[in-house]
């Protein structure tokens, strides 16, 4: 559909407020033969129940509140187990409560929260669990790449290389040549994202790929699919993440610091082939902005005949942000939000997302990095001008390390992001990341160069959960109840 009616663009309603009160996760690893997925799920649930300061006397009292469960798990064929949801549900001992599996590719975690939030907002449930996981270590990388490629159209795409990265890379190549002009400067911006996210992962005890690397390391790493190199790409992980959502009464009964939650979802054609030229749907900060409108008119009618939002933008992300901003009253995300967790599947798709969700207008995404906005503290390593180095950025991004530095255990990813936002907004980031015992339980030692990444006085955050070439995207917004914008 490329022409919309009022019904399509209606602002989503919550019939009552939705709160998030707790999060839990396993650590994330590429191979995890020591534990079955069920064990990791129980460990994540135990953290959720016992370590979030909930006002309950143990796990069993918490379980007596839970009314429905939503389980995000994308790739049945990786785990070789249909109805894996039922296995996990049984191990958590939550039968006979209703449960439902959710799968929307890379956006599975976000979609799982979407379903749980709707159960609360509608009044169906007062307390709902959203848990997600993935196990991708049962097959070798080449079989794994084939399995992932079956998420493309099997008749028209999968046969073409059996490699999903390639299908996304078609978009990356178009963006790189059109807006990046294939320039070293643009390449450097991509590299800075990888350096940032691997660097933030160094202060995350859950993370799979902490690394202190330089832009030169990124640019010397092997090419995966030009212009994407090894360090431009996200991880493949085993792991679990969970969050607990409640209505207002239950939220305050269980928690001293519940956080409000809203979520919107969008989609676009599975095949990039089918992305027809259309008008760009405008976000609140673009609607009346003459400069942006002029820029967009030029992009669309330019001599490149750019296929907006076709190959260079993610329409699904734009729609998810459109719904979420209208639900919450956000006009300028860079001003009104304090931090974001974005779906950095690749450095270049991260840049595309800045534009889709209005952190910058289309074609100007790199400025979000180069302005220093994306950093808690702008690096002082000489890659930024002296006037910016050491300053606090306006809207730090992926302090967890994101998909590049922390994890991409597909069904868990969108839930991990929202869990990290929750802890930031509750001021509990240090509780889950800074204590030496958090590192020791995962067999690690807290590093000497550990950095405190708690965003001071964080009130509002946003997470983007995104599938592949953009078939599904959710946009979750969390706010401290005292900092809600739209009453």
């Amino acid at each position: 559909m490329i022409k919309f009616g009022k019904g399509n663009l209606a602002t989503p309603k919550q019939m009552r407020p939705v709160y998030i009160v707790a999060a839990g996760m396993s650590d994330f690893k590429k191979h995890y033969p020591e534990k079955k997925t069920e064990e990791l799920a129980v460990e994540a649930f135990r953290m959720l129940a016992l370590e979030n300061g909930l006002k309950v006397d143990g796990i069993q009292e918490l379980k007596r509140h839970i009314h429905t469960c939503f389980y995000g798990h994308f790739a049945d064929h990786f785990g070789d187990q249909l109805l894996g949801e039922s296995v996990i549900h049984d191990r958590l001992g939550l039968d006979p409560m209703g449960n439902c599996g959710v799968k929307t590719g890379g956006a599975t975690g976000g979609s799982t929260i979407w379903m749980a939030a709707n159960a609360i907002a509608s009044g169906y449930s007062d307390c709902a669990l959203a848990m997600g996981w993935e196990r991708m270590d049962e097959v070798d990388t080449w079989t794994g790449n084939h399995y992932i490629a079956t998420a493309a159209d099997k008749d028209y795409e999968t046969e073409l290389g059996h490699i999903y990265t390639g299908y996304y890379a078609l978009m990356a190549q178009r963006y790189w040549k059109t807006f990046g002009k294939s320039s070293p400067k643009f390449r450097r911006t991509m590299s800075k994202i990888s350096v940032k996210n691997h660097g933030y992962a160094c202060s995350n005890p859950f993370a799979q790929a902490p690394a202190r690397i330089t832009v030169e390391d990124v640019e010397k790493s092997p090419i995966v699919a030009d212009p994407l190199r090894f360090y431009d790409a996200c991880l493949m992980s085993v792991g679990v993440a969970a969050v607990l959502l409640c209505d207002e009464e239950t939220a305050y009964k269980l928690s001293a610091h519940p956080i409000r939650l809203w979520i919107g979802a969008g989609s676009h054609t599975l095949r990039t082939a089918d992305r027809r030229i259309m008008d760009i749907p405008l976000l609140p900060n673009e609607e009346n902005n003459k400069d942006v409108l002029k820029l967009y008119a030029g992009l669309k009618g330019g001599k490149n005949k750019e296929r907006y939002p076709g190959f260079t933008g993610f329409l699904a992300a734009r729609m998810a942000a459109y719904y979420a901003y209208h639900m919450t009253g956000i006009v300028d995300p860079c001003e009104e939000l304090d931090l974001v967790e974005l779906h950095d599947a690749f450095t270049i798709s991260d840049i595309q997302t800045y534009e889709d969700i209005g952190l910058r207008p289309y074609s100007m995404g790199p400025d979000y990095i180069e302005s220093g906005d994306a950093y808690l503290k702008v690096p002082e390593d000489g890659t930024f001008p002296k006037s910016l180095a050491g300053k606090k950025g306006r809207l730090p991004s992926n302090l967890s390390g994101g998909l590049i530095g922390n994890m991409h255990a597909v069904g868990a990813t969108g839930i991990m992001q929202v869990g990290e936002l929750l802890w930031q907004l509750q001021g509990k980031w240090a509780h889950f990341h800074a204590r030496p015992e958090m590192w020791e339980r995962f067999g690690k030692k807290k590093p000497k160069d550990f950095v405190n990444l708690q965003v001071p006085n964080a009130k509002r955050g946003l997470a983007i959960s995104h599938a592949g070439v953009g078939s599904h995207v959710t946009c979750t917004i969390l706010m401290n109840p005292k900092s809600v914008i739209k009453k």
């Binding site: 534990k35 080449w142 084939h146 008749d155 178009r174 190959f311």
Partner: protein
Amino acid sequence: MAKHSYEYNNMNPTATVLRRLDPMVIEKPRNPIHIHTYGGETPFFRGLTEGRLMATKCVNKKCDPSGKAGYYHLPPRVYCPDCLEKMTWEDITDLARKTARIHTHITVANPGAFNRVPVPCEIISVEIDGVATVIMSYLRGAKPEIGMPIEPVFETANPTYTILDLSWVPRR
């Protein structure tokens, strides 16, 4: 075609192999075959084996925008994505020969398991005048560039009966 079309699986039980003792890790091999139909999209795949590029078009004048615009969809669709009326099939081989060009491209050096595209795989997205969509395919015998004029090649001699029967070369 197989004589007994539904006897397609290797039904031998697969042997398990011990990989590691603690934690106990085993190998579980298997070798299933899927029987898959192209259904109403058969004219497209049959067309490739006969040297023709078949696309679909919505002829419902009330349909906005597919019917009104009268453009082609490729990959083809049995039903119009806008009005859900049945689409009409047309041969666009000549149109593709005259106007096809590369919209974007990627070189895949390390494809996934089961790949049959010549390596390195030059995967391309193809723009054709009058076609609203940009089909994914692959280029033979040249380094792709955005905007490069190309023409279709059909694997009619030894068809694979898949999308691989369509590929492209620089326009002569």
